[in-house]
């Protein structure tokens, strides 16, 4: 494992005269699940978009696997909270979307991949449904499958479960964590929800209010280990860590998140 799969080197970002990200250094290892946690409007989305190549740093560089990120490509796929799947395509069509632009896959391989990812997200029966006819949780599953099918190595997820009800959200968290381990993906995940952060993360990066600055780097994997079954959220270690993170937020960011 190379130590810096994704690397931020003195990255800053301002919109006009407003500084949004103050000089940030961060390295993320391959196959890890990193959660960005921080107060509203602090610049988490902006940081993630820069990794995706959708925004560029005002100064400093972001590298992926040693290479400077300058534009979006299929190695880093985005999953948003809303408008996450294309309404004019079926579930199958959505999952197939990114593969249309790959010429290294034969028609059979594409079909096999569609089937594989449909099964992975448990939506075999909804192959020909349109996104407007399925639930919000299913739409997010489809978005995840589509990104994986396109062949992304890194998933950039900006509050993807933010609009879901608590139960659906819990299910999806378990599934996402499992998928990340099975498919060996690197994930950067932005959330407001401390419990979600602790449950999902190998590592939580806690940011200050705008302009974003790294306040804490919390090694969750060291406490909770790699496996996160649903029961993990009932364990004492989970509670203790959750409370600890909550306290950190209260003390260091003035209580907002």
């Amino acid at each position: 494992m190379d130590p810096a799969y994704i690397g931020f080197e003195n990255v800053t970002k301002s919109f006009g005269t407003v500084p949004v990200v103050s000089s940030t250094n961060l390295s993320i290892t391959r196959y890890s699940f990193v959660v960005f946690l921080g107060p509203s409007g602090c610049g988490k989305t902006t940081l993630m978009r820069m990794v995706g190549g959708l925004d560029s740093p005002s100064s400093g560089t972001i590298r992926l696997d040693g290479e400077i990120v300058s534009a979006p490509d299929r190695r880093r796929g985005m999953v948003f909270q809303s408008y996450s799947s294309f309404p004019w395509l079926t579930v199958e069509g959505n999952i197939n979307f990114g593969m249309r632009y790959r010429n290294d896959l034969s028609v059979e391989e594409r079909a096999a991949r569609v089937t594989h990812y449909l099964r992975l997200i448990g939506m075999d029966d909804f192959r020909t449904s349109y996104p407007n006819r399925i639930s919000g949780g299913m739409r997010q599953r489809v978005a995840i499958a589509r990104t994986l099918a396109a062949g992304s190595d890194v998933l950039l997820m900006d509050e993807p479960f933010g609009a879901l009800d608590a139960l659906t959200r819990e299910r999806l968290q378990v599934e996402l964590r499992q998928i990340q381990r099975e498919e060996r993906k690197t994930i950067i995940f932005v959330t407001h929800d401390v419990e979600e952060a602790v449950f999902l993360a190998d590592r939580i990066i806690l940011f200050s209010a705008r302009p974003a600055r790294i306040l804490r780097d919390i090694d969750v994997a060291a406490v909770l280990g790699p496996e996160r079954p649903l029961e993990a959220r009932e364990g004492e270690a989970f509670f203790r860590l959750r409370n600890e993170v909550l306290h950190m937020i209260r003390n260091e960011t003035g209580g907002q998140r």
Binding site: P72, D73, G77, W88, R102, Y130
Partner: protein, 260 residues
Amino acid sequence: MASGLFTFRGKSSARADIMLGLGVAAALILAWEAVARAGFIQPQFLPAPSRVLGALWSMTTTQGLLWHAFVSTMRVWVAFLLAAAMAIPIGIMMSSYRVVGASLEPTIDFIRYLPVPALIPLSIIWFGVGEETKIFLLWLGTFFQLVLLVADDMRRVPHEYVEIAFTLGAKPRQVLTDVALRAMGPTLVDNLRITLGWCWTYLVLAEIVAADSGLGFVIWSARRYVKTPEVMAGVVVIGLIGLVTDQLLRAWHRRMFKYL
């Protein structure tokens, strides 16, 4: 079945809706017939619907009404397709590339506010009184409106779709054809349908001023001899063509965008 008709924002069946709409239309026509027959109003101001129907029949058999309707429809469609064929790519480009949008917007916005009737004399000076004048006037009335509507549709495509496509490996051209065009499809078709309606307004205008054929010409000629039933018959034909076209386009919209 029909109970939803009376609830605030209630739902009802398509059949109930159609029956209700036709029923009201029939009632209005009957009321009109009754008023006209009662004789309070001179028939040359308000002929009964039955007389308009009679005029419709005699115009069809002796004056080639169907041919006039065909000529008008062709004019509308030629001008409309011409306007659409230009407005769709230009409108999309205006919202895709700032250079196109910034350079065209002021001019288009200016021309958009020029009243078409005011340009009729100019159009006749340029193109004479042939087909070109009519097509030009219709095009003028629709192109500049449509191009801004298309630009707006394009601007409203959620940015998320575009960015998702980029992170899935699409190139700008592919984002345009596979995402932007698909995402704007439903509103684009709606706007085309509405613009086509405007085309008919300008058609009558153009045919009144400079034509010896078409429904506008028929209406205007009948007016000269105060043949009110024929004037009304001409108007009814335009209304019917509009209604049928609109319903067909709506049906096509529903078929094409089943996912909505």
